[in-house]
Symmetry: C2
Subunit: 348 residues, 2 copies
C-alpha cells in the first residue's frame, strides 16, 4: 500500500536509482528530472523506507537513550536536550527506561543495538565491565559515569558535594548526614568521596545512610534514621530524596531548616515550587544531553557500522574524549544556621 521507490520510478519514467539519487544526492540529477521525480513522489505520498536504507548504509539515523527512571524529573531535561540536538542532525532518539534494574538495562541495550547507530547510557547501573562489553557491540557514550576507554560526559558532583558541605560548615553544622543513592551509581561514589573529604577537613562528622532508592519514597523512608543519627544537616543523593526526606521529617515533627538543614542535588524544576524551596546542587543536565549526542555522532560518523571492509584496523579512532561539566550550588530556603546544641534532641 505505501508507495515505494519503484512506484515513483514508474510514474516519472526514470530508473529507481535516479529516484534514489533525487533524495540522497540531488546534485547528481538533472534539475528537470529532479522536479519531475519530486512531483511524482509528492503525488504518491512516497517517503523513503528508513529500514531498507539502514540495511544498506549501515546507519539507522536513530540513537538510543537509556535512562534509569524516566519518572525522575532529573532526566526529562536531558532527554529533551538530546532529542533537540539529535533532530538538528536528522537523528531520532529512542528512549528506554530500565526501572533502575541493571538486568533490564543490559537487555535493553542489546535489543536496541541493531536498530540504532549508538546508545547513550545515562546513569547506568550495570558494571563497568559489562559496559565495556556492550560497547563492542554498539557505539556507546556514557553519561554520569567514568569508564576508561569510553567516551563519557560527567557532571562534577564531587565539586558540588564539596560546595554543599562547605556551605553547611559555614552555617555552623558539625554533624552531617549523607543520604546515599542506589548501589552501582557512580555519582553516589563520587559524592561520598568528596563529601567525606570536605567534612573531614572542616572538622565535621559525616554519617552515611544508604544505599536508598533515589525517589521521594526512598528519601522519606530515611527520616527516622536521620532523626536518630542526631545530625543537624543532610546532603541527599538527589532532589527527590531531599523532598521526600523533608516530608518525612515533617511527619516526625522536625522542621526544615529550623531543626534540620537539607540539600539536594540536580535542581529539578520542582525544587523551586516546594516549600521550603530547596537548596540544591544544580547539575547541567541539558548540556550533558547535548554534549553526549555530539560525542556519539562525531565518534560515530567516521565509521559507518556495516562498513564494507577496507577499514583501518578499527580501534585507531579511539579519541574517547571524557568531559566533566561543572555544577553549582543554589542556596534557597531549606538550609539555615545550625540549631543551638541541645535545643533539639540531637542526642536524645
Amino acid at each position: 500500500m505505501p508507495a515505494t521507490i519503484r512506484d515513483v520510478a514508474r510514474a516519472s519514467g526514470v530508473h529507481i536509482s535516479t529516484v534514489s539519487r533525487t533524495f540522497s544526492a540531488p546534485h547528481l540529477v538533472n534539475p528537470e528530472t529532479r522536479v519531475r521525480v519530486l512531483a511524482c513522489a509528492e503525488d504518491l505520498g512516497y517517503r523513503p523506507n528508513r529500514a531498507a536504507r539502514a540495511l544498506i548504509t549501515g546507519r539507522t539515523h536513530n540513537i538510543g537513550l537509556i535512562v534509569a527512571d524516566i519518572a525522575n524529573p532529573f532526566f526529562p531535561p536531558l532527554i529533551k536536550a538530546a532529542e533537540g540536538q539529535a533532530r538538528h542532525r536528522d537523528y531520532h532518539v529512542f528512549v528506554a527506561d530500565t526501572n533502575e534494574d541493571p538486568v533490564a538495562e543490559e537487555d535493553l541495550v542489546h535489543a536496541l543495538a541493531k536498530q540504532v547507530d549508538g546508545v547513550l547510557l545515562c546513569s547506568p547501573r550495570m558494571s563497568n565491565s559489562l559496559i565495556e562489553q556492550v560497547s563492542r557491540e554498539v557505539p556507546v557514550v556514557v553519561i554520569n559515569r567514568q569508564v576508561a576507554g569510553l567516551p563519557c560526559v560527567m557532571m562534577d558532583v564531587g565539586q558540588g558535594a564539596r560546595s554543599a558541605i562547605e556551605h553547611l560548615l559555614g552555617l555552623g553544622h558539625r554533624r552531617i548526614a549523607l543520604l546515599g543513592g542506589p548501589r552501582g551509581s557512580w555519582t553516589n561514589r563520587e559524592m561520598r568521596r568528596a563529601a567525606a573529604a570536605a567534612a573531614r577537613s572542616g572538622g565535621a562528622d559525616l554519617t552515611v545512610l544508604g544505599p536508598n532508592q533515589p525517589t521521594e519514597t526512598g528519601g522519606g523512608a530515611t527520616a527516622e534514621a536521620v532523626r536518630r543519627s542526631g545530625v543537624t544537616a543532610v546532603l541527599a543523593y538527589n532532589d527527590l530524596m531531599a523532598l521526600g526526606l523533608i516530608e518525612g521529617l515533617d511527619a516526625l515533627g522536625l522542621r526544615v531548616p529550623q531543626d534540620v538543614s537539607v540539600i539536594g542535588v540536580d535542581d529539578i524544576a520542582l525544587s523551586r515550587l516546594t516549600r521550603p524551596k530547596l537548596t540544591t546542587v544544580a547539575t547541567p543536565t541539558a548540556a550533558a544531553g547535548r554534549t553526549a549526542v555530539d560525542m556519539l555522532l562525531q565518534h560515530d560518523s567516521d565509521a559507518p557500522r556495516g562498513a564494507r571492509g577496507r577499514g583501518a584496523a578499527a580501534g585507531d579512532r579511539r579519541t574517547t574524549a571524557q568531559v566533566m561539566l561543572q555544577t553549582v550550588l543554589v542556596v534557597r530556603d531549606s538550609t539555615g544556621p545550625a540549631p543551638e546544641p541541645g535545643r533539639n534532641g540531637a542526642g536524645a
Copy 2:
C-alpha cells in the same frame, strides 16, 4: 563485524533458513539441530537484525509514542506503563517529544511512520483532520482526545471537573475560575464544558482564564488575573499550573486554601509533596498507557503493514474501540471553606 545469520549457518553446518527458523519458528526444526545452532549463535554473539527482519515481515516491533512535553510529570507514568506493556509483547517504545508544537508533532509522526508498527498520539495538539490524515499512513491510537473512526482512550475529565466543582460548591464557593490549558487540547474543552455546566446548576459564577501554557510558569503567570477576578476558588487545567498558581498567589500575599482554594488535575506524584498538598482530580495515566498499547497491537496484528496483496478491501477491520477511563477527585489540603465575603479583597 557483527555476526549474521550466514555466519551461524556456516558454523553449524546448516542452511541459513534453518538458522532463521531456529529463532522465529523453533518447533519446525529438529531439537538436535536447534541446540547446535543455538550454541553456535551464542558463541558468535549473533543477534537477529531487526531492520532486515522488518524489511521482509513488514513489522518493526517498535511503536512510537508522541507526547506533548516529556518534562510534564503527567507523562512519565503513562510512558512507563506503555513501555512495560509493550515489552511484554516484545515491542519497544520510541518516545518523542513535541514541545507542545503541532507542527513538530506532524513532522515527528511522519518520520516515525516507517520505522514503527503504530503510533500512540498522546494529548495531541494537531487538528482532528490532520490526525485522520496521518492515520492513513500508519496505525494510530489516540490518547486524551476523541476522534471519530479512530481508536481512542480517554480519561473522563468531564466527570472529574464536575466532581471538583461540586466539591467547591459544597465548601461554599460561588465565584470560581477555570484556568484553561493550551489551545487544541481536547481535555481543555471537555473540562470547560463540564465545569460550566456544573457551576451553572450550582448557581455559581465560572470565569474562564486562558488559554495558558500548561506549566508551572503558565500557572504562575495567571496569579494576578486570578486575584483581580475576585474568585475564591480555582480549578486548573493540570497540577503543574495549579502549583505554579499557588506559588504566584503566595507572592501576591494570598494564601491557599485560606484565601483561595485551588484544585489541579492529574495527581502527579509531586502533588503529595508540596505544601499545601494539592487537591486534585486523579487521572488513570498508567491504565491509559497500557490500554493504548493493547489497542494498537490488537488493532494492528490482523494486518501486517507490508501485506503481500490479497488483502480484504482494507477498512473492514475498523473496530475502533473507544474507551473512557474513570477519574476520581482526591481531596487534600489546597481546598477549604470559602472565605467570609469581604474578608478578602474580592471586589477590591
